[in-house]
C-alpha cells in the first residue's frame, strides 16, 4: 500500500476468518475509499456480515491485516476503533431514554454530560427527531427507532459508519424513504459507509460501489451500473436483476461482433465477448418480447404461467433452451396458458457469461 493513508479508508489485506472448521472468509482483500458508500451484497451465509463485524472489531481476523485510515487495527478491540455501527435490531438500550442512547458513546468516552447531551440533541435534529429525547425507545415507531440508531452512530463522528441490514425491520414503503435519508446524511457528512444487505434493489439504490459476495469470497465488485451491464458470471447476472440463462456455444468472438449457436440457430451479437466455446447467454426478462410471429431471433415456446400485476404482465414460457421468464408491458389481449408463442431476443442487450453453475 504505497499511497498516503487517508482518514476513513478501509483496507483488508488477505483477511481470513475461520470458526473452527468453518471458513467464513477466504483470503479477502478489499479497499474502500474515504467518503464512499460501499454495499456488501450477497445471499445469507456469504460472509458479508462477518466482513462488517471484522471492520467493527466484533470479530478478530484469523489471518491477514485490517487497516482503517491507514492504521493497522487487526488486534485493536472494537472499543478503540473509530467506527460506529447501526445494528439490524437497532440495539437501542431499552432502559435509557432516546437522548441517553444517543449520548451514550460520548459519555463513555469521557465527555461531560451537558456537552454530550447538547451534541446528541444536534444528532437527533439531523435525523428529524428533535424533541423526542425524553422518550424511551419502546415509545417510538420502528422507523423512529431506526433513526435514533443512526443518530447514535453518527454523533461520535466515526471514521467509518457501518450499517448492518438497517432497513430489514421496516415495511416496504418506509424502507425506500429511510434509505434515501441515510444516503442524504452520508453524503452531507462525507462519511465512509459500509452497508450490508441481501436486497439487491436496496444496494443498487444507495451505493457508490457494490461488493457482491458469495461463498466467503468476493464474486464481483463495481458500480451498480457495471454489475448490471457487465456481470462477470452467471451468478452476478442472476443476482443483480433477474436473468434467464440460456446455454449456448460461442463460435467466433471478434472485437465488435460475436457469433454464437443458440438452440441450433446461429445468431450474431453486435458486441465483442472474451469467451469461446460453451457459454451462457444472459437474457433480462424485460429485454425479451413475446410475439405470435416467428422471426430470425424469435424462438418458439409455450406459455405455462401468466401473472397479471397491473403495471406489467409476467409470463413463464417453456422454450427449447429451458424455462424463460418474461416481463412485458400490459396489453389488452395477453396470451393465455397453453398458447404457442415466440420469444424474441434483443441482441443488443443480450450478454455472455462463462458457463458455470449459478450455485446458491
Amino acid at each position: 500500500m504505497g499511497e498516503k493513508p487517508e482518514k476513513g479508508s478501509v483496507v483488508f489485506e488477505d483477511v481470513v476468518k475461520r470458526y473452527g472448521e468453518v471458513t467464513a472468509l477466504k483470503k479477502l482483500s478489499l479497499s474502500i475509499e474515504p467518503g464512499e458508500l460501499v454495499t456488501l451484497l450477497g445471499p445469507s451465509g456469504c460472509g458479508k456480515t462477518t466482513t462488517l463485524r471484522l471492520i467493527a472489531g466484533l470479530e478478530s481476523a484469523t489471518e491477514g491485516r485490517i487497516l482503517i485510515g491507514g492504521e493497522d487495527v487487526t488486534h485493536l478491540s472494537a472499543t478503540y476503533r473509530k467506527v460506529s455501527m447501526v445494528f439490524q435490531s437497532y440495539a437501542l438500550f431499552p432502559h435509557m431514554s432516546v437522548i441517553e442512547n444517543v449520548a451514550y458513546g460520548l459519555t463513555v468516552s469521557g465527555i461531560p454530560r451537558e456537552k454530550a447531551h447538547a451534541k446528541a440533541e444536534e444528532g437527533l435534529e439531523m435525523v428529524g427527531l428533535k424533541g423526542f429525547g425524553q422518550r424511551l425507545p419502546s415509545e417510538l415507531s420502528g422507523g423512529q427507532q431506526q433513526r435514533v440508531a443512526v443518530a447514535r452512530a453518527i454523533v461520535l463522528e466515526p471514521e467509518v459508519l457501518l450499517l448492518d441490514e438497517p432497513l430489514s425491520n421496516l415495511d416496504a414503503k418506509l424502507r425506500r424513504r429511510v434509505r434515501e435519508e441515510i444516503r442524504q446524511i452520508q453524503q452531507d457528512l462525507g462519511l465512509t459507509t459500509v452497508y450490508v444487505t441481501h436486497d439487491q434493489e436496496e444496494a443498487m439504490a444507495v451505493s457508490d460501489r457494490i461488493i457482491v459476495m458469495r461463498n466467503a469470497e468476493i464474486a464481483q465488485a463495481g458500480t451498480p451500473h457495471d454489475l448490471y451491464e457487465r456481470p462477470n458470471s452467471a451468478f452476478i447476472a442472476d443476482f443483480i436483476g433477474d436473468a434467464n440463462l440460456a446455454d449456448c456455444e460461442v463460435i467466433a468472438a471478434e472485437e465488435s461482433e460475436t457469433k454464437l449457436n443458440l438452440g441450433g440457430r446461429e445468431i450474431t451479437l453486435p458486441h465483442g465477448a472474451a469467451i469461446t466455446g460453451p457459454a451462457r447467454l444472459v437474457l433480462r426478462p424485460n429485454d425479451l418480447a413475446l410475439t405470435s410471429e416467428p422471426g430470425p431471433l424469435a424462438f418458439p415456446a409455450t406459455v405455462s404461467y401468466v401473472a397479471y400485476l397491473g403495471n406489467q404482465i409476467q409470463y413463464t414460457v417453456q422454450s427449447e433452451f429451458g424455462e424463460i421468464f418474461v416481463i412485458s408491458p400490459p396489453v389488452a389481449q395477453p396470451f393465455g396458458v397453453g398458447d404457442q408463442v415466440f420469444v424474441e431476443i434483443d441482441p443488443q442487450k443480450a450478454l455472455l457469461v462463462p458457463d458455470e453453475p449459478v450455485g446458491k
Binding site: H75, S77, A78, T79, F87, S89, A91, V108, A149, R152
Partner: protein, 731 residues
C-alpha cells in the same frame, strides 16, 4: 494495556512488600500484625526473605520485576505481551509450587536439597500478602494474554476468565483432588495405589444382603435404591402437579404455586422432623392409628420408608418446577395438529404430548436421583439403621473412630454416582431435547386433558398436596407443644429458650440460646449471597457473551459443583484446607467460600437464562460506541439484568441459610450456624426447640423473599416488554 499491566504489577508488589505473607493470628482484620510487622509470623514476603531466610518466596518478586522490565524494554507489542505472560505464569507456578512443597513441618519432597535451610522449619498457610501478590500476578498474566490478541484483545474478559477459572480450580478441583488422593493413602499418609480397589469395592459399601434376605445392604446399594425410587416418585408426582397446573382449570392453582416456593425456604431436615412428629413413636398419627385400630407403635419411620417419604416431600416441588416448563414447552400447535388429524384428547396426550415431554421427564428423574443421593438432612434425622452414603461419610469423619480414608472412599462412590447421573443428563437429555419453545409467539391453546388422565392426576396430586400441608402444619404445632406426644399443652417455652431477650438496666439482653448461631448465619449468608450472585452472573456473562477456547470445559467445570454432593464438598474442604498452603478450616471465610461455590451453579443458570434474553447486539452496540467491556457490563447489561441479579441474590442467601450438608463439617463453636445448631438439638432429642428454631428460619427467609419481591416487583412496572425479567432457573 501497558497501564493496566503496571497497575497490577503495583498491586502484586504491594502485596509482596507490605502485607503479611502468611496467615496471621487473630485474622487479618484484627490488624494485630501491624504492631509487630517484622516477626517471622507477620512479616511481608520481602522481609521474610531478608530477615528470616525464606528465599524461596522471591519467585513472585522476580516475576513481577521481570514483567515490568519486559514492558519497559520490549517494543513490539505482541512480543512484549508474550514475554510478560510467560514470566507471570512462571511466577504464579513457582509461588504455588513452593506453597505445596514446603508445608508446616518442612519440605515434603527434595528434603536433602533443602536440608539446613530455613525451609526445614516449614511455613504456614498463605495469608493476605500471598493472596494479593498472586492476584496481581494472575491479572498481569491475563492482561498480557489479552495483549496477544486473545479474547478479542479485551483485558476485562480475559481477566474474568482467569479469575473464575482460578477460583473454581482452587475451591472445587483442588479439594476434590484431595479426596481422590486420600483414597489411595494409608492411614499414616503413605501413598499406596493398591489400596483403592479393595476399598472401593468392599462389601460394607456394596453389600446386597438386604436383597437376598441376609442382613442389611451396604450404603451404596441403599443410596441407589433410594435414589431410583425417589427419582421415579418425584417425577410422577411432579408431572401430575404440572399437568393439573397447566392443563386443567383447577380452582386452587395459586395454592400450587406455593409448592414452588416451599422447598427453597425449608431447611433440609425440617420435613424429617415433621414426619417424626406425625409418625414417630410418639407421633400424632401413630397415636391415632394405635387408638383406633390397635396398630402397634413401632419405629418403622426410621428406615427406607421414612427417608423415602421425606425425600418425596422435599423434592417433588423441584420436579414440579422442572416439569411445568416442560409441559408448557410442548407447542400447542402440535397438539392442535394432532386434533385436526382426528386424534382424540387421550390419543393426542399419549402419542404427541407425552413423547415430546420425554426428555423433560428424564431430566426431572435425574434431578430427583441426584438430589436424593446428595440428601443429607433427611437420612440424618430419619436414617436409623438404614445407612446411606451421605450420612456414612459424615459418621466416618465425626464418628467414634474417625476414618478419613473411608470417608474419602465413600465420597468417591457418591461422586461417581452423582457425576454419572449428571453426565447422563447432559449427554442424553442435552442432545435429545425436542425443544419446541422457539421464541416465536406460538398462538393456540393447550389441549385439555382427557377425563381419565385428569382424574389420575387429581387422585395422585391432591391427596399428596393435602399431606404436604399437614406435614408443614406440624412444624407450627410442634413448636408450641410442650413435649410432643406426651404433653401437648400450649407453650411458648421453646421460643423463649431459643430467642428469649431481657431488658436489664435499660439495655436489651439476648438470653436465648439460638441468637448466636442465628446472627452468625445471617451475617455469613449476607456476605456469601452477593459474592455468589457476582461469581454466578459473571460466569454466565462469559458463557453467553464471549467465545474462547475451552469454553465447554469451562462451562462444565462451573456446573460441576452442582453435581458434587454437599457432604463430599464438606469432606474435601476438611481434607484440603486444613493444611498449608491454604489453611481455612475454623474460619468464617471457609463457610463463605463453601456457600459461594456450592450455590454458584444456580447463579450461573439464572444468569444464562436472563442473559440469553438480552439481544447480543446491545453489548456490541455499546462496544462499537467506544465503551469497554467493563463499562458495557456496568451501564447496559447490569441494569437490564437487575431482576435476575435480585433473584440470584435472594436464592443464594436463602440457600446459605438452609444448607447443612457441607457446613456440618466446617462449622466451629465460634462460627456455629443455624442448621448445625438445630441438628445438634435434634441429636439430643430436643425437638421442640429445633422445630421452633426452624419455624423462625422459615419466617426469616419468607420475609427476605417477600421484601425483595416487593422491591424488584416495583421496578418491573417500568420495564419494557422485550426485557421482561425471567426468574432465575432453579435447581
Amino acid at each position: 494495556m501497558k497501564r493496566i499491566i503496571f497497575q497490577w504489577i503495583a498491586v502484586g508488589l504491594a502485596g509482596f512488600c507490605l502485607l503479611p505473607w502468611y496467615m496471621v493470628d487473630g485474622g487479618f482484620w484484627s490488624f494485630g500484625w501491624i504492631t509487630d510487622p517484622a516477626s517471622p509470623e507477620n512479616a511481608p514476603a520481602l522481609l521474610q526473605i531478608l530477615l528470616h531466610g525464606r528465599w524461596w518466596l522471591a519467585g513472585a518478586l522476580l516475576a513481577l520485576l521481570a514483567a515490568a522490565l519486559v514492558q519497559l524494554l520490549v517494543k513490539p507489542p505482541v512480543r512484549a505481551a508474550r514475554l510478560t505472560a510467560a514470566v507471570a505464569a512462571l511466577g504464579l507456578g513457582w509461588t504455588t509450587l513452593q506453597g505445596l512443597v514446603i508445608v508446616r513441618h518442612g519440605p515434603r519432597i527434595l528434603k536433602d536439597l533443602l536440608a539446613g535451610t530455613a525451609a526445614e522449619q516449614g511455613q504456614i498457610g498463605f495469608g493476605a500478602g500471598a493472596a494479593v501478590t498472586l492476584l496481581g500476578l494472575l491479572f498481569v498474566l491475563t492482561t498480557a494474554i489479552s495483549g496477544m490478541g486473545k479474547g478479542r484483545g479485551d483485558a476485562f474478559v480475559t481477566g474474568m476468565i482467569g479469575l473464575i477459572v482460578s477460583l473454581v480450580g482452587v475451591f472445587v478441583f483442588y479439594p476434590v483432588a484431595h479426596i481422590l488422593i486420600s483414597a489411595f493413602q494409608t492411614s499414616a499418609g503413605a501413598f499406596e495405589p493398591g489400596l483403592f480397589i479393595p476399598r472401593f469395592f468392599s462389601a460394607d459399601i456394596w453389600g446386597i444382603g438386604c436383597l437376598v434376605g441376609q442382613g442389611s445392604c451396604g450404603p451404596a446399594i441403599n443410596s441407589l435404591m433410594l435414589a431410583i425410587a425417589a427419582g421415579v416418585g418425584t417425577t410422577a408426582l411432579g408431572l401430575a402437579f404440572a399437568l393439573i397446573f397447566t392443563r386443567t382449570n383447577f380452582a386452587a392453582k395459586p395454592l400450587l404455586r406455593v409448592l414452588t416456593v416451599i422447598p427453597i425456604i425449608t431447611p433440609p431436615f425440617v420435613i424429617g422432623l415433621a414426619l417424626i412428629l406425625l409418625f414417630g413413636r410418639a407421633g400424632a398419627a401413630t397415636a391415632l392409628f394405635s387408638d383406633l385400630f390397635g396398630i402397634e407403635k413401632s419405629r418403622w419411620l426410621y428406615s427406607f420408608w421414612g427417608i423415602y417419604i421425606a425425600q418425596l416431600l422435599s423434592f417433588t416441588p423441584i420436579a414440579f418446577l422442572v416439569l411445568i416448563g416442560v409441559v408448557e414447552g410442548v407447542s400447542p400447535s402440535m397438539e392442535e395438529a394432532s386434533q385436526t388429524l382426528n386424534a382424540n384428547r387421550w390419543q393426542t396426550f399419549r402419542y404427541v404430548s407425552l413423547p415430546l415431554m420425554r426428555p423433560g421427564l428424564a431430566a426431572a428423574f435425574l434431578l430427583g436421583f441426584i438430589e436424593s443421593l446428595a440428601d443429607f438432612g433427611n437420612p440424618l434425622v430419619l436414617g436409623g439403621n438404614f445407612n446411606v452414603l451421605s450420612t456414612e461419610i459424615y459418621f466416618s469423619i465425626v464418628g467414634a473412630v474417625a476414618n478419613p480414608a473411608r470417608a474419602a472412599t465413600l465420597a468417591i462412590v457418591l461422586l461417581v454416582l452423582t457425576l454419572g447421573a449428571f453426565l447422563a443428563q447432559r449427554r442424553w437429555v442435552g442432545t435429545k431435547s425436542y425443544a419446541t419453545v422457539t421464541g416465536k409467539a406460538d398462538s393456540g391453546a393447550h389441549v385439555a386433558l382427557s377425563r381419565g388422565v385428569k382424574w389420575a392426576c387429581y387422585l395422585t396430586a391432591l391427596p399428596w398436596a393435602a399431606f404436604t400441608a399437614i406435614v408443614y402444619s406440624m412444624i407450627i404445632f410442634g413448636s408450641f407443644a410442650k413435649l410432643w406426644g406426651y404433653d401437648n399443652s400450649f407453650t411458648l417455652e421453646h421460643y423463649i429458650r431459643a430467642f428469649g431477650m431481657k431488658l436489664k438496666n435499660g439495655a436489651l439482653k439476648l438470653t436465648g440460646v439460638a441468637w448466636d448461631s442465628y446472627f452468625t448465619t445471617l451475617e455469613i449468608a449476607s456476605i456469601a449471597a452477593p459474592l455468589t450472585a457476582l461469581v454466578g452472573l459473571a460466569t454466565a456473562y462469559l458463557l453467553v457473551r464471549q467465545n474462547f477456547r475451552g469454553k465447554d470445559a469451562f462451562e462444565f467445570s462451573t456446573m460441576l459443583s452442582f453435581a458434587i454432593p454437599g457432604t463430599v464438598i464438606g469432606v474435601s474442604y476438611v481434607l484440603a484446607f486444613n493444611f498449608p498452603p491454604i489453611e481455612l478450616t475454623g474460619t468464617a471465610l471457609i463457610l463463605i467460600i463453601v456457600f459461594v461455590f456450592r450455590n454458584m451453579p444456580v447463579g450461573v443458570r439464572g444468569g444464562i437464562a436472563a442473559m440469553s434474553q438480552l439481544d447480543k447486539s446491545l453489548d456490541e452496540a455499546s462496544i462499537t460506541l467506544g465503551a469497554n467491556s467493563f463499562t458495557t457490563v456496568r451501564r447496559v447489561i447490569a441494569p437490564l439484568m437487575g431482576p435476575a441479579m435480585v433473584a440470584a441474590l435472594t436464592y443464594s442467601f436463602v440457600r446459605a441459610i438452609t444448607s447443612v450438608s457441607a457446613v456440618i463439617f466446617l462449622y466451629t463453636a465460634k462460627h456455629n450456624m443455624a442448621t448445625t445448631f438445630i441438628v445438634g438439638r435434634v441429636e439430643n432429642g430436643d425437638y421442640g426447640l429445633a422445630i421452633a428454631y426452624s419455624a423462625v428460619l422459615i419466617v426469616t427467609m419468607l420475609a427476605v423473599i417477600m421484601a425483595t419481591q416487593f422491591l424488584f416487583g416495583r421496578r418491573r412496572l417500568r420495564r419494557e416488554n422485550r426485557i421482561e425479567p425471567v426468574a432465575a432457573g432453579r435447581a
